[in-house]
Structure formats: structure tokens, C-alpha cells
Amino acid sequence: MNPHLVWSKSLHWEKYFRPQTIHEALKILEQFDGKARIIAGGTDLLIQIRRKEIELKTLVDISRIPGLDEIKLENGLIKIGALVTHSQVVQSPLIHERALALCEGASQLGSPQIRNLGTVVGNVVNGQPGADTTIPLLALNAIVKVARKEKEQNIPLTEFFIDTGKTIVDSTREIVTEISFPALIEGETSVSLRLARRKALALPILTTSIFISADLGKRIFNYARIALGPVAAIPFRAKDAESILISAPIKEEVIKETAQKAAQKSNPRNSLLRGGEEYRKAMVAVLVERGIHKGLERLEI
């Protein structure tokens, strides 16, 4: 919190770089040795600077680097570049068709203004446990591509988060250039559901994304991924609940049991602003159950 109870208009950074390549951007970061930071959309970063949660003197704006604003389908993988905005995702026919949960998640975030400016990658890197694109990407089994010095590394999203607001990426030294995940195929579906205090411009009480692979002929689940937030310090995969669905028959009791298990394993905080622990846990069960049903509807089961 702000101990002086004073807010200022100026955000006080001194240098603002606009590199033309990732290589250039990394060099500048190295040069400033931890004192400079990447900005893409800036919708989270500027607020953090204003609230004095971060002190920053140098910004490295990657929004002019060509090639980072594309959504591609390559070898069955959907690849989302670092500069892709939430609006682009919402309006992308590819993502609508092959990763609907991500569309749904992105469309519920903020407002049209925020969605036009903010980036999916930025939302993930911000590391909040209930982030509206992180949760679907977790359910979609995404992989993060991080550019460091001379190398690039691929890190599964499940290993990406360390603590609330903290990821394994050091934004003063590294750049996430892309997030990718397998595009959904026949027999697969995805859903995102959300609970919030109002219908726009609201941080979630609870967000869930569910990926389901099912055998329509045999009427069984093959497997599923259930992502939830904020029910822990980091974005959460309800693995115990997921395991119930492995090769399980598509039956009401199975779905209910899965939902209950997901709730059981969730550990949401008591938030004065966005819901108490008891309520949020109860809602995990409700949303997971609804999510699975909706997914099955989408598969026309």
C-alpha cells in the first residue's frame, strides 16, 4: 500500500527504448543489468508503476518488433506472438474454432479498451493466479517460449509460475516471445467460465477453463485438464480431479465427483473484495460441473 497516501501523474521512468529486434531488446536489458524492463501492452505494468509496486527507470518497448503480433497455426500448434492483443484473440476465427476457451477467457477480461491494448503474453507474464488468459492456456497445455541472451527455451506453462506475481521469467533479462499449444482436434473441446462482481472491468472471483478429450462413440472421457484461479498462490491445475475423468464413463455422478474433488483441492484466500474462502471453494464445484457439461454440449454429447 501507499504509505504516503499520495499519487502522482508522472510515472517517473527516465529512458524509453524501442528496439527493432529481440536481439536488440535483450542487449538493452543486459546493459541495464536488472534496472530495465520489458513493456508490451503495458496495461498491468503502468498500473503497478503508478501504485509504486514497481520502481522502474528504464522501459524497453517491444511493440515495434515485427513478427510478434501474429497468430499462426503450424504443425498442429497454435502459436501466439508476444504482441498479440486480447482483441486479436477474441476476433481470431482460428482460435474461435480450435481453442474456444481462450477466446472466452480473453473476451471476459477488462473492457474493449483494455483488450485492444493488453497482450495475452503480458497477461501470463504478470503471473496472477486468476489471470483470464493464463487459465485457459493452462487448460490447453501451453508452452512458453522464452528468449534469453543467445538462446531460446521452451517451458511448459505448468512450470512457469513460482508465486503470486512471480514467474520463472525475469522481465529485466528475458523476453517471452511466444506461447503455443496444440490446436483442438476432433473429440476435443474447451470451455472457460468466470464469476465476477460485475459484467465488465472486473477481476474474477473465480475463473475456470476445462479441456476435455472424449470418445463420442464409447461415451467415455479420455482425459481432461481443469485449470482454476485464483484458488492458490499460482494458477492451479486440479490434477486430482482430472484423474477421475481418465477413461471414465460420461455420467452425472462422475462429473459431480470431479467437481467436488476440484473444490476440495482448492485453497482460495479470503478476499475482502472478491469473495470469501468458503464461497469460492463452493463455486469451484459449481463452475467445474457447469464447465464439463458445457464442454460435453459442445461435443454434442
Partner: protein, 793 residues
């Protein structure tokens, strides 16, 4: 040029003005005219306070207390003063006049000297060349606090051992109603229902932040410009703080980007502080409050704990009502206590608590209590939304117990012409309450929809349940103080154009347009001929504050009186030009004509020229005081407000029984406004107020923990967005107010008053669960469902 063929009959009616008020056919009043500031606003040309250029103005900032209750042991401003670019650092000892400001009681220190009473209380002021330097200076001021035990609830604050927020103790006011005999009443009752309701602090959340410009003059005078709902009270406070004569202070209103009562208080706060810095530095000062600062430090809606008990016969006749209000004032008085006899939020809440119902036995006790929280001040409805939630929820639940449709229970007991209120006031005119109920019921299809509402004995297997609910309300026009009154000056020019000098402010509600319409109608000119001069205390007669839904009625009357003075002179001139006696002349639509022979006319312009040529009076002043307010301190008996507006609201909601989410599908509401001076604007007020009421019902609350506000910004203090607002069908009816211009009474505040209980009553209808505490957000609704239907979910 249009010739008037029809006779226009002027009906004379007996009223407090003693002047003709009605025309059968109105030219401007009653028409949905385009608002006078529409084009400037839609083009982005209108200059609000923050848009005013003020080169070389110093920036002013306030250092605020981080403690809810603490003594100030020491304050060291040396380092701050020495910072280059700092032009002034002020502490309490630097104040030349009175160290106190406030809407009614100046009990809030402009700069705290000995102690602080809430987080955000002002401890020092800084003026510097740039904002950056001012902020650096604030951080260099060293304050040594000695924290004191703090008190955060009115129930705790009234205990004898509670920490004292002010020397005189925490109980600021007591207000009562004593009517009839309640013990007897309860004995006579067949059914008694007792409930406790709580409502939280809420925030005005006007989108335009507070801002002010203070410009000192060499002769010791000072001009202060900014968005202010009452330039006259700001002026009085500044004069007292600077220790100068009132006539040395000029307050000029800039267009207000939303007020809702908030800029009644906040303008005094920011105005006196900026004025002090201007006085000290001799330079222009610009001060702006950030959004967080506004939420932190300015006035809120009073939270209340309301206990009420109602007794009725089994046929539904109300017999007795008993109520107790713990009204949390917070750190400072603001508009909680008010001017005598019936001013202030507290007394108003007490008077309104029994609801618009005829009840022979009434006892109400209201306690207004200080705490170390931000303070309650003027906010749209002024105590009524809080108590309306209580009485409309209570009556609705009573209907359930009696097995009666809540509509008919209300209809049986509510006010009509001839009813006597809980304060013993006889409502002898303009009571459109029953009419508003009938009109709403019809438009809403209440009977049909009520039948479709599901069986409440147990929740069935559907996940979404629909329900309908209603609430009725009443609201005063005027502030109920003996000082309530206002003046207007009208100046007719020789080309027929008119200047209107008055002090009612425009904050979006449309006052400039409506008052211009009244002036135009009265003077026989068109709306385009009238120009409102920006409210400026140097120029406008005292108009009092733009609050209490009093603007159209009181200022409208003042304008009519002013207009009569000019009309007399115009008619004399026209009589000369036409050779027709003055008693046969009608002034209308830019013409003055013989009522018996409309083809004999003269242009109003010609008559105006003639008046000027003959040295006749072209300027009129009107002063209007409403019928006297009365209210006995001990018994709460009297006629506190001279007329009331009434409304009925019906809401349809859909509740998700698994999550507790409530969606409002539709609201239909009918308002008795006396006379709709500008119908499309009345609709706009209704729709906007209802959405504000929806926010109160479902999502708004200031969350406090140990005196610390958890939701300072608009991300976390949430108000309805376009996706949260339902379809709202506004209906107005006109039950003439004889004390109002063209029959009008107030509209500004009524819309957001019964919305919350209409919605919570609909929730009860949908799921069989009552909500007793606002807001009814999804968690609260869910928990209520669970408590009641534990096994079924």
C-alpha cells in the same frame, strides 16, 4: 411570422406566489428541448475545471494522516520547505482565520493541529512549482504521531468507554418521532414483524475528479473556480478560513462532471485548502484530487443499522411502527446534522423511515454517531435510500406473512391526498403515489408476472429462477431549513434576448436547460433567447445549494417572480404601441397580442425596445422562500418539507441459485413529478438514478478494515457498467404541485431511492430468501440460500 389564432387562457390559481403560473398551452415548458449545453459537450469543447488553462499556477497537495485516530506530537517541515521549487508548506498554525470547514458545522480542520480523526485527514499543505516537487516535499515532512485507540462502529462508539472522536463525545445528534401510543398499537396488532437492516458506506464515484483553481488578487480578494454544487457555502467557508469578509471571496462554478451530492462537500474541502495556499503564496494555485484521494478523503453515503418493527391487523391495516437508526456519521459532521428545523441527513432519515404510509402510532429514535471512519455527507437521497431499503423490505415481508400481495398491502396503507404522515403533516395536495402504483402495475403486468413466480416452499431443480418485486417511495423537495430560499435575476435586452443570473449549478441533471425553459415560458420568449450566466457568487443572488431536489421548484419559482416584474414593463410598452389596455395583453412566443383580437400584436422585441426607450425596468429580481418548515425536536411532529415526489418501481430479476448471481432483467418505474418541465430529461434522471440504485443493491460498498479503505480506485469500488444495466422503462405522471412552477416538484434524487428494495424483494420472490444487508452481491445471496435450503443444494 406565426400569428396566434387561438385564445390562450391564463388560469389563475391560488398559490404561494400570488402570480399566474399556468398556461393551458405551453410553448417551451413540457417539451423535450435539446439541452443548452449539448453541443459543447458532444463536441468536446466544454471546459471543465481540469481543462482550464492556468499557466504558472503552483500545484497544491495535501499530506494525509495514515492513522485513523492519533495525536500529532510533532511536525517538522524544515526539509520540505528547503526543497527548491517549494513555495509554501503550511501547518495548522499558519491559518489566518478559522481552522475548520464543513457544510453545516465547520468541525473539520483544514489542517489538523492536535489530532487526526480518520485516515486521509489533512495534516499539512504544500504548494510547489510542479506536482513532482510537491510530492517530494510531502514525503519530506516529518510527522510524529501517537496512535490512539480508534472506534469503527456506531454501536461501539456509543458505549461510555469508547474512544472519543470529538471532545464532546461521539453522539452527535438524536432525532425522534413520537406519535400516538406504540404500546397500545402493538397490543392492537394481529401480526408483528421485527427486522434489522444494514447498509454500507458508498461512494459518489462521479467520473470527473475534484479540481480547483484559486486566484488571489492584489487587494486581498480571491477567486476560486471549480466544480461545486454550492458556490455560496464554499464562499462562506473560504472567507471564514482566510479571516476575510465574504464579499472578498468569489466562487465561480465550472461545469460539473457529476456531483450527486459529493461536490457539495468536496468543493468546500478542496476550495478552502487551495485558497489557503493562494493566500499564503500570493500565487495562483491549482489543486486536483486523484481518484484514490477522492475515495479516501471525501464524503460518503451514511452507513446505517436500522432496526424496525411493524404491527398490522390481519386485514393488512398498519397500526404501529417502531424504529431505531444507528447512523454512522464518521469523523466529521458534514451534512449529517443539519440546519434547523429539518435539515441534514439524520433528521431526514428519521422522518422518512416509517415510509409513505398512514400509521397512527409511530416511535422512531435516531442516533447520529461519530467514528474514526471517513464521514457521511450529502449523497443523492440524503438518508432516504437507506431507510427506504428498510421499510420497503419490511412491508414486503409483512405481506408474505399476512398472505397478501405486497402491491395490495401497500395500496391499502399508502399516502393519498388528505393523508397524515408520521410527523403529523397533512398532505393536502400533489400526492400521486397510488396513481404511480397503478401505472407501474399495468405497464409491468404485475398480476400476470406474480402468478408465474415459482413456488417458494423449496428450491426445485432449475438453476435460474425469476422473480418480481416492487418498492414505493417518497422524497422531499427542499432542504427543510428555515434558511431555504433563493433568488434569481432576469435581465431582458432590447433585442428580446435574456440573461439569467442565478446560482443553481449544472451537473448534468439539466438545471440550466430546465430553468431557461421556465424563464422563456414566463417571459414569452424561446429557449434559444435565454442564456444562463455561469453561477458566480459575485453576480448571482444567493441560490442555496443544488441539492435536495429543490432546483427546479425553488429556483423556478424565483424565476417566475423575476419574470413578472419584467413582464409588467413589457406589457406597459406594448400597450402604448398597440393602444390596447394592459389587462388584455398576452405575452407569448415572442409576441405580445390582444387576447380578444390576436391579429393586433407587436413583436416582443419592439416592446423591449420601447421599454428601453422609455427608461422602463428591464430587469427583475425574484426571491422565493418555500412554505415554512416545522419539526418539533422532541416529538418529531410538524411539516418538515412542503411537498414530496412519489414513485413506484417494479423489478424483474433472475437469480442463479447455484452461484447467487442476480441479473436484473427489467425495471419499470413511474414518478409523480408534478410537471415534467423537460420530459426527455426527466426520463434520463429516472434511468440514471435507477442504475445508481442498482449499484447500491448489488455491488457497491466501501470495504473497510481497521479504518483502512480496501477499494480506493474504480477497479475495486465497482459501479454498474453498460452490461450491468437492465432495460429501464421510465414513466412520469403529473399531480400538480401548487407550490411549484407550472406544477413541478423535484426529480433528481427520487429515482435511486426504492431501487434496492425493489430488487431485493424480487430476489425474495425468486428464491424465497430475504436479504437484510446491502449489497446483495452473489456471495451474500449464495450464503443466504445455503442457510435456508441447506439440504437442497
Amino acid at each position: 411570422m406565426e400569428k396566434v389564432n387561438k385564445r390562450v387562457l391564463v388560469k389563475e390559481k391560488e398559490k404561494s406566489l400570488g402570480i399566474p403560473v399556468f398556461f393551458e398551452e405551453l410553448s417551451t415548458v413540457g417539451k423535450s428541448k435539446i439541452r443548452v449545453d449539448a453541443y459543447d459537450k458532444v463536441r468536446g469543447k466544454l471546459q471543465y475545471g481540469a481543462d482550464l488553462e492556468c499557466p504558472q499556477a503552483l500545484i497544491g497537495k495535501v499530506l494525509r494522516s495514515p492513522y485513523p485516530h492519533a495525536l500529532i506530537k510533532k511536525i517538522n517541515i524544515k526539509k520540505a520547505n528547503h526543497l527548491p521549487g517549494v513555495k509554501a508548506v503550511m501547518t495548522a498554525e499558519d491559518i489566518p482565520g478559522q481552522n475548520g470547514f464543513g457544510g453545516i458545522i465547520p468541525d473539520q480542520p483544514v489542517i489538523c493541529g492536535d489530532k487526526v480523526r480518520y485516515i486521509g485527514d489533512g495534516v499539512a499543505l504544500v504548494a510547489a512549482e510542479t506536482e513532482e516537487i510537491a510530492i517530494k516535499a510531502l514525503k519530506l515532512i516529518e510527522v510524529e504521531y501517537e496512535p490512539l485507540p480508534a472506534v469503527f462502529s456506531p454501536m461501539d462508539a456509543v458505549r461510555p468507554d469508547a474512544p472519543k472522536v470529538h471532545e464532546n463525545g461521539n453522539l452527535l445528534r438524536i432525532a425522534k418521532i413520537r406519535k400516538g401510543n406504540i404500546e397500545k398499537g402493538f397490543i392492537e396488532s394481529d401480526v408483528i414483524l421485527e427486522r434489522t437492516y444494514t447498509v454500507p458506506f458508498v461512494e459518489h464515484a462521479y467520473i470527473e475528479p475534484d479540481v480547483t483553481l484559486a486566484i488571489p488578487h492584489p487587494d486581498g480578494a480571491i477567486t476560486v473556480k471549480g466544480p461545486m454544487q454550492d458556490p455560496f457555502t464554499v464562499r462562506r467557508n473560504i472567507a471564514s478560513v482566510l479571516g476575510i469578509l465574504i464579499n472578498k471571496v468569489q466562487c465561480v462554478q465550472t461545469p460539473i462532471g457529476g456531483g450527486f451530492g459529493g461536490k457539495d462537500d468536496s468543493a468546500i474541502d478542496i476550495g478552502t485548502r487551495a485558497a489557503l495556499l493562494a493566500w499564503k503564496t500570493g500565487k495562483k494555485i491549482r489543486m486536483e484530487y486523484d481518484r484514490e484521494e477522492i475515495t479516501l478523503s471525501t464524503a460518503k453515503r451514511h452507513p446505517m443499522i436500522i432496526q424496525c418493527k411493524i404491527g398490522a391487523k390481519k386485514d393488512g391495516t398498519f397500526v404501529v411502527f417502531e424504529g431505531m437508526i444507528f447512523n454512522e456519521q464518521g469523523a466529521y459532521a458534514s451534512f449529517g446534522p443539519g440546519g434547523r428545523p429539518a435539515g441534514g441527513v439524520h433528521i431526514h432519515a428519521v422522518v422518512m423511515l416509517p415510509g409513505p404510509y398512514v400509521i397512527p402510532n409511530v416511535k422512531v429514535d435516531g442516533y447520529l454517531v461519530h467514528t474514526n471512519h471517513p464521514y457521511g455527507g450529502a449523497m443523492r437521497g440524503f438518508g432516504a435510500p437507506q431507510v427506504n431499503f428498510a421499510h420497503e423490505s419490511l412491508v414486503d415481508e409483512l405481506a408474505e406473512i399476512l398472505g397478501m400481495d405486497p402491491y395490495y398491502l401497500r395500496l391499502k396503507n399508502c399516502f393519498e391526498v388528505g393523508s397524515e404522515t408520521a410527523t403529523g403533516q397533512l398532505l393536502n395536495q400533489s400526492v400521486g403515489l397510488k396513481d404511480s402504483m397503478e401505472k407501474t402495475k399495468e405497464a409491468f403486468k404485475w398480476d400476470e408476472k406474480k402468478k408465474l413466480a415459482p413456488d417458494q416452499k423449496g428450491l426445485k431443480n432449475t438453476e435460474k429462477r425469476r422473480g418480481v418485486g416492487m418498492a414505493i417511495g417518497w422524497y422531499r423537495t427542499s432542504i427543510g431549513t428555515s434558511s431555504d430560499g433563493c433568488g434569481a435575476n432576469l435581465h431582458l435586452q432590447e433585442d428580446g434576448s435574456v440573461l439569467l443570473y442565478q446560482g443553481i449549478t449544472e451537473m448534468g441533471q439539466g438545471s440550466y436547460t430546465v430553468l431557461s425553459q421556465i424563464a422563456a415560458e414566463a417571459l414569452g420568449v424561446t429557449l434559444e433567447d435565454v442564456r444562463v450566466v455561469t453561477p458566480d457568487t459575485d453576480i448571482a443572488p444567493d441560490s442555496g445549494p443544488t441539492v435536495g431536489s429543490r432546483s427546479t421548484t425553488l429556483m423556478g419559482n424565483a424565476i417566475l417572480i423575476a419574470a413578472e416584474v419584467i413582464k409588467k414593463s413589457l406589457v406597459e410598452s406594448a400597450s402604448e404601441l398597440l393602444g390596447v389596455s394592459t389587462d388584455r395583453l398576452i405575452v407569448k412566443d415572442r409576441l405580445i397580442y390582444d387576447r380578444d383580437n390576436p391579429n393586433r400584436f407587436v413583436d416582443l422585441k419592439e416592446a423591449a425596445k420601447q421599454s428601453k426607450a422609455m427608461g422602463r425596468r428591464m430587469m427583475g429580481q425574484g426571491w422565493y422562500t418555500p412554505p415554512k418548515s416545522s419539526l418539533d425536536l422532541e416529538t418529531g411532529q410538524g411539516s418538515p418539507y412542503f411537498v414530496y415526489t412519489y414513485c413506484t418501481q417494479m423489478a424483474e430479476v433472475e437469480v442463479d441459485i447455484k452461484t447467487g448471481e442476480v441479473e436484473v432483467i427489467k425495471i419499470i418505474a413511474t414518478f409523480d413529478v408534478g410537471k415534467a418541465i423537460n420530459p426527455i430529461m426527466v426520463e434520463g434522471q429516472i434511468q440514471g438514478g435507477i442504475v445508481m440504485g442498482l449499484g447500491y443493491a448489488l455491488m457497491e460498498e466501501l470495504v473497510l478494515k481497521e479504518g483502512v479503505i480496501q477499494n480506493l480506485n474504480l477497479r475495486d469500488y465497482i459501479i454498474p457498467t453498460a452490461l450491468d444495466a437492465p432495460e429501464i422503462i421510465p414513466i412520469y405522471i403529473e399531480h400538480t404541485n401548487v407550490h411549484g412552477p407550472f406544477g413541478a416538484k423535484g426529480i433528481g434524487e427520487m429515482p435511486n431511492i426504492p431501487t434496492a428494495p425493489a430488487i431485493t424483494n424480487a430476489i425474495a420472490n425468486a428464491i424465497g430468501v430475504r436479504i437484510y444487508d446491502l449489497p446483495a452481491h452473489s456471495e451474500r445471496v449464495y450464503m443466504a440460500i445455503r442457510r435456508r435450503f441447506e439440504k437442497e443444494i
